[in-house]
Symmetry: C2
Subunit: 365 residues, 2 copies
DNA sequence: CCGCGATGGGAAAGGGCTTGCCGACGCGTC
DNA sequence: GACGCGTCGGCAAGCCCTTTCCCATCGCGG
């Protein structure tokens, strides 16, 4: 912005000038041209030495390297990207770094990115679909070589279309994208088996003897929540549970959401024997809510979540959940976006979800 | 990298060629020049309309916008950065996204960054000091306008000097840096009162009647660990506790580290009445370690941590800790780096650390 | 001694964008 | 009607690199 290049004076310094004002360092980054001048070679040669794009004879080679070192030259990655027509940046769009679900996924992505010596642009949407769209634009404008979105997954058709449209634009411009947990967007996709996982969970819970359930669901518009709810319902039906009186409470997909839903559930009257929170963050909130109200888990009510996020390890009682290999999902998405040839037909990787019974769900007598 | 522009044939297409192959859309991003051509104005005008750098008369203005929309033009941010001589990217270097301490800080940074409509480059060092150095280089080469490091804080003099040197180079090139939890690096700094906090914690624990302590410390080379240990010791001395037989175990600054240290502590013989883990992640590990060994907290041993990370909220027993406003620290660092004029003398912000007594530390009879 | 291919250096043409400058134009004023 | 002024287009010169040519040089066999 306030670039204020103060170069007007800046012609080539004659030897005398060098003697005259030795310490007057131009501020701002050192340029390749300065390195070249310092080494007494042409710009082209300096470039070739430093980027290793072609062999350069020893005398010159050494001098360029020395000059670069002495001047503390750092190539301008932006200019390089422009000149080469390709960047080494990967875009990552998630909801929130603070949410363990997303940070685990981000961790997986980062690992892959680091292995390839790339760099990641991180953007967090805070669940705002418009920001999501906006960020796709931003990423595109930064010409990221790959884009990974772990996003909204809303049922909002209009939004999904716009997103698909954006992504198509991104792809048309030569980028590779992978979306986590949502397919049919015309990109690579890594999708957890939400429905199957929830179905399996329902089955296990029924096998523990539970018949009366409540579900703490996310916002109605979220596909993830809907899929898990649907799967759970199917599972119950398969086990012969009457789903008619299944209590389903909708709230935010956050800890606070879970907490207040638990409170609402308690207020509504007799508790079911088992509560399924469609994700672990909500389950943790619910756990806190129950505890605050003096409702004991699992004695008074059983509680299960979904995702098997890391902090679950330290909770008491340990939470029953449906395990998702979050880091792997991130890593896989990164691989899809980074290792696939552009123009390949997009792949969809299904991720297995596995029920893990722990102490928060008890067997009924 | 494999840029492979398919231009060898690529001289300028003659009008005839255009007629010959009308639908052959060049792949790759749409260029500003194409937009300009489409709108029938000059490149300059198109640029001005789209960047709003100068007012442009209505007939042209409208046509440029229409053309841009129709062609789905996205400006090349890299080229813009080169041309403008300033980028709108902020660099963030942390150890690990998966660690709640760092992700909280990252969250704070992100908030500030988003408010300013900038974008962040995230790099994680996984506690590797060399990678840290490397990343500073990378960030510098990407010409990030601000750099926030939440890093190693090692006692390794050589490394610190190299880091300071790197940062000085970055600053000389016109960048603004802020470092979290380490000062004397010649940059802005946000430093938590580790020592004071630990001292206060020691005092509170003594007031609960504890006299025999153990400290689960991080690697010897980590300043954060050392400061907290020092402060804790000072606090004990101030309370008249004999520090001679204070048990100090060193391990990794991770959950696993805490877990195995707890095991070691148990194996070593009679437990002290209270254990201080120098950070919460270790404390959580220790809690798990104790639990696994059948040692009850706080009945058999009291346990305290430091940082007050988010997952602590859901742990049972709730953990006594020293609260640090992590998000704010990140936000503050971002502000320092973003809102300060370059060349200003660097500021150091001290962050208050406050003891929060919870259920994991009990009062001795 | 000459021609040959291989090698390495440099000038210059990009890459996609911004912006300083100039000139054209329309308007109001005296 | 001439002049000044403000507005707005466009040319072209940047920004900092990479890479394509092309030419000079060199070693070498014929």
């Amino acid at each position: 912005m306030t670039a204020a290049r103060e170069s007007p004076t800046g012609r080539r310094a004659t030897p005398d000038e060098v003697v005259g004002a030795p310490a007057v360092r131009r501020s701002g980054p050192v340029l390749l041209s300065e390195v070249a001048a310092h080494a007494g070679v042409s710009l082209a040669t300096a470039s070739r030495v430093l980027s290793g794009s072609r062999s350069v004879g020893e005398p010159h080679r050494g001098r360029v390297l020395a000059a670069a070192q002495e001047l503390r030259y750092t190539p301008n990655a932006q200019a390089q990207a422009v000149a080469r027509g390709a960047s080494n940046v990967v875009g990552l769009i998630i909801h929130d770094v603070l949410d363990p679900y997303f940070s685990s996924i981000a961790g997986g992505v980062m690992r892959q990115v680091e292995e390839r010596e790339l760099v990641v642009f991180l953007a967090s949407t805070h669940s705002d679909v418009d920001r999501e769209l906006e960020f796709v634009q931003t990423m595109r404008s930064h010409r990221v070589r790959a884009l990974i979105i772990c996003g909204s997954r809303t049922t909002d058709r209009a939004h999904n279309e716009r997103l698909a449209h954006e992504l198509e634009g991104y792809a048309a411009a030569g980028g590779q994208a992978a979306v986590i947990s949502q397919d049919r967007l015309g990109t690579h996709a890594v999708v957890p088996q939400n429905r199957t996982g929830a179905r399996a969970l329902a089955r296990e819970l029924c096998r523990l003897g539970h018949r009366r359930f409540a579900v703490l669901a996310g916002p109605r518009g979220l596909l993830t929540s809907r899929d898990r709810l649907t799967g759970f319902r199917e599972g119950l039906v398969a086990e012969g549970v009457d789903v008619a009186d299944l209590q389903v409470l909708h709230g935010e997909f956050t800890r606070e959401g879970g907490e207040s839903l638990a409170a609402r559930l308690i207020a509504q009257g007799p508790l079911p024997t088992c509560v399924f929170a469609v994700n672990d963050v909500m389950a943790l909130g619910a756990l806190a809510g129950f505890r605050a109200a003096g409702v004991r888990v699992p004695d008074d009510v059983s509680l299960a979540g979904f995702d098997d996020i890391a902090p679950l390890r330290d909770v008491v009682p340990s939470l029953t959940s449906v395990h998702l290999p979050l880091e792997e999902m991130g890593a896989r998405a990164a691989q899809l976006a980074l290792d696939t040839e552009p123009q390949t037909t997009s792949q969809a990787v299904k991720v297995h979800a596995e029920v893990v019974l722990r102490d928060s769900t008890r067997r009924l007598a």
